[in-house]
């Protein structure tokens, strides 16, 4: 018995020691990736620190290139790849899955390493996040900085308006009531609630609103959208009424970037934002604030979003291997927990939530759990082929609704017509 186990131990030990050496023979020394900065705070310093730690542990140098918003990063990455000088991997919107697949530039995980080990690792991610990675039986990206949309509210303003800060609105009706009590037009003017309506974010907000009436905006294959469904029109109409009838939110376009500053300087009592902004707001708010799940027509419902790690085909096998190792590093329980605490993004694996660090953090700061609790009632972000184009079609029409240029029914019909035109080549065969 003992002899066998000792031999087994020797063999096992030798194998474990040999494995990194064998692996090292195959992995690259230096890789680079594009990284978008989508939330406030010293994100670049955190990412730099992770890269340094990764290099200390594995000897592989990872260089992050900060490239602006999600949209800008997508443009830059694809431009670079088409120009023959592209990054090896990149963090891009999870919803870009189908577009990127169509361009033929992605390397699915199964093509890099198809061991049982990898399969088990992939199985540990939350299914809600994996939904944006799976297509055609393969995994095309790794969830990294994922979020759900939540809203932040100013508890002091709630109390002052006679609302209970511990019972923030959970339904549309409650939202309207609260908004009307909070909106002030004279003196120190402020809005009851602000939502982002700019190009690049409006579709995310609308995805949440649609889910709040129980409607999905697209099919899983990414070839069809359902913008002019009666439920979608109902969601759009509610949004319009918030601005024009109930007057609790501004008309016209509100930039995503101004939401957090407006909240922090008291121009907005509630903002529909992302959990990724949680730490930023926590550090900069000079008042008591709360976090809650987005109100649904009856009960809270929301949308997931955020970025995944995509590995590109233009990287050679050694570089892809290195990129995969980095992906495993940043999604390991310890790093994922650290990322969650320092930004507010959700840790993408359950084992991260079980680490002592995250348990302690959520115990002393319960709002950090709000976003996670919303996962069961969250739907995926709008994701189709020719994603950016469909976004543009939808967002222009949403903006038309919110500026009063078109009624909701007309705008949604127009958006549907244009999206149909864009997606037609993908529905054939």
């Amino acid at each position: 018995m003992i002899t066998l186990s000792r031999r087994a131990a020797l063999i096992g030990g030798a194998a474990t020691l040999a494995a990194p050496a064998a692996l090292r023979a195959q992995t690259a020394r230096e890789i680079s990736f594009f990284y978008p900065i989508a939330v406030g705070g010293p994100i670049t310093r955190i990412i730099d620190a992770y890269c340094q730690r990764f290099e200390a542990e594995t000897g592989i140098k990872v260089t992050p290139v900060y490239s602006g918003s999600y949209g800008d990063t997508l443009t830059r990455a694809v431009t670079a790849i088409r120009g023959g000088a592209g990054p090896h991997f990149s963090v891009l919107l999870a919803a870009e899955l189908h577009s990127l697949r169509d361009m033929g530039i992605l390397a699915p995980i199964e093509d890099i390493a198809a061991t049982a080990d990898i399969r088990e690792w992939l199985g540990g991610f939350f299914p809600a996040f994996m939904a944006n990675s799976l297509a055609d039986g393969k995994t095309w990206s790794v969830p990294f900085q994922r979020s759900t949309s939540v809203y932040f509210y100013n508890r002091a303003m709630f109390a002052e308006a006679g609302l209970n800060p511990d019972m923030p609105p959970r339904s549309w009706a409650e939202l309207v009531t609260a908004g009307q009590r909070l909106t002030r037009r004279e003196g120190q003017a402020r809005w009851g609630v602000q939502l982002a309506t700019n190009d690049g974010t409006a579709q995310w907000t609308f995805g949440a609103l649609a889910n709040q009436v129980g409607h999905q905006l697209m099919n899983a294959a990414g070839t069809e959208v359902f913008f002019n469904h009666p439920l979608a029109i109902e969601a759009a109409e509610f949004w319009r009424m918030m601005a024009f009838e109930h007057r609790i939110t501004p008309q016209g376009v509100t930039e995503w970037a101004t939401l957090a500053p407006s909240f922090l300087n008291g121009s907005a009592a509630m903002i529909w934002s992302t959990t990724g902004n949680l730490t930023n707001i926590r550090q900069n708010a000079r008042f008591d604030f709360g976090v809650a799940g987005l109100p649904g027509k009856q009960a809270p419902r929301t949308v997931v979003g955020g970025g995944n790690l995509y590995i590109f085909k233009n990287a050679n096998p050694a570089e892809r291997e290195a990129a995969l190792r980095f992906a495993r590093f940043v999604t390991s329980p310890e790093i994922a927990a650290d990322w969650c605490i320092r930004t507010g993004y959700l840790a993408v694996r359950e084992d991260a939530w079980q680490t002592p660090a995250l348990r302690r953090y959520t115990a002393e700061f319960p709002p950090a759990l709000v976003a996670k609790e919303q996962l069961p009632v969250a739907t995926g972000e709008l994701s189709t082929f020719e994603n950016q184009r469909v976004y543009r079609a939808l967002n222009s029409n949403l903006q038309a609704i919110l500026t009063g240029a078109k009624p909701a029914r007309q705008a949604m019909a127009d958006a549907q017509a244009e999206a149909d035109r864009i997606l037609r080549p993908f529905r054939r065969g």
Binding site: M103, N198, V253, T258, S267, E386, Q399, A405
Partner: protein, 310 residues
């Protein structure tokens, strides 16, 4: 005088002269070639290539490009966003050109005259030209933010207006972009006018004064005509900028809200580098080239003839 006669006297024979001419021609071509190569490579060739590529469909991962003839252009004609970009650009150019030239002329006249604090004024007028548009766009973003933005603070203090979403609503968004463009350009044109004004001989003004002409008549009959060539030169620049100056739009409104600030060049960038629809982008580029070429033709042939040169 004498030296020239001597040279003529010792003029070489016709054959030698032709040899000199050939050598000069060769030299001329040698001097020209580097510049010509670059110009052709990055202006003329791309223009032709654009036209060629606009006759094919956009190549995708599994669908190579195929000949479609005028399909891309027909699709453009049916595209409401193209038409909106077209008309927006017409309004944008139509507003920025006269405004920037007019304000530049006023600035030059003021700075050239005997107003107090001319040096400071000149610097103030020219500063926007030096600042990178990208940098300024962010500052203007603050100016235009509703409620606590500077413009709203001013309008609410002076006129008691409520918050206006200057760049977030279609009615005012394009006007706001025009304002930023004029602000950026006028100072640059002012320098040209200033140089031209200072080159007008004072004797002309003295003669006019002797004849008892009023200030307005002097301006109309003496100054303006002499500024003709400068105005033409500035007009060329202003027209080009009316289509080229889109940096602030890309940063501030990205063509929104609902395409209210979408111009031809921003649409080209979006279609070509966001949607990767290179064929449509090529067709759009050609439309823009035709417009610019037409404008150039008008300016050089028609207006050029009517300008007074000394």
């Amino acid at each position: 005088m004498h030296r020239r006669k001597l040279i003529v006297f010792f003029a070489p024979s016709v054959a030698a002269e032709r040899a000199v001419m050939r050598r000069t021609t060769l030299h001329a071509w040698l001097l020209l070639t580097p510049a010509l190569v670059l110009l052709f490579a990055f202006t003329h060739y791309p223009a032709i290539a654009t036209f060629w590529h606009s006759l094919f469909s956009t190549p995708r991962a599994n669908r190579p490009a195929r000949w479609v003839g005028t399909d891309n252009y027909l699709a453009l004609l049916e595209d409401p966003i193209f038409w909106q970009a077209f008309w927006n650009n017409a309004i944008y150019a139509g507003a920025t050109i006269p405004l920037s030239i007019g304000i530049a002329l006023a600035m030059a006249l003021w700075v050239n005259g005997r107003l107090g604090g001319r040096g400071l004024l000149r610097m103030a007028y020219f500063t926007p030209t030096i600042l990178p548009m990208i940098a300024v766009a962010n500052l203007w973003l603050f100016f235009f933010t509703p409620d606590y933005g500077l413009l709203d603070q001013v309008t609410s203090t002076l006129f008691g207006w409520g918050p206006t979403n200057w760049i977030g609503q279609p009615e005012t968004a394009l006007g706001a972009m025009i304002a930023v463009a004029v602000w950026k350009e006028a100072g640059f044109f002012m320098i040209f006018y200033l140089a031209a004004l200072q080159a007008i001989p004072p004797t002309l003004y003295e003669a006019a004064a002797i004849e008892g002409a009023s200030r307005w008549t002097v301006f109309r009959r003496v100054t303006l005509p002499l500024l003709g060539p400068t105005t033409l030169f500035i007009l060329v620049n202003a027209v080009i900028n009316g289509f080229r100056l889109v940096d602030h739009i890309i940063v501030m409104t990205r063509g929104g809200p609902n395409n209210a600030t979408q111009l031809l060049l921003t649409y080209i960038y979006e279609v070509g580098f966001r949607f990767w629809d290179t064929a449509t982008a090529a067709a759009l580029t050609l439309v823009l080239l035709v417009i610019l070429g037409g404008a150039a033709g008008v300016q050089f042939f028609i207006l050029g003839k009517r300008t007074h040169y000394r």
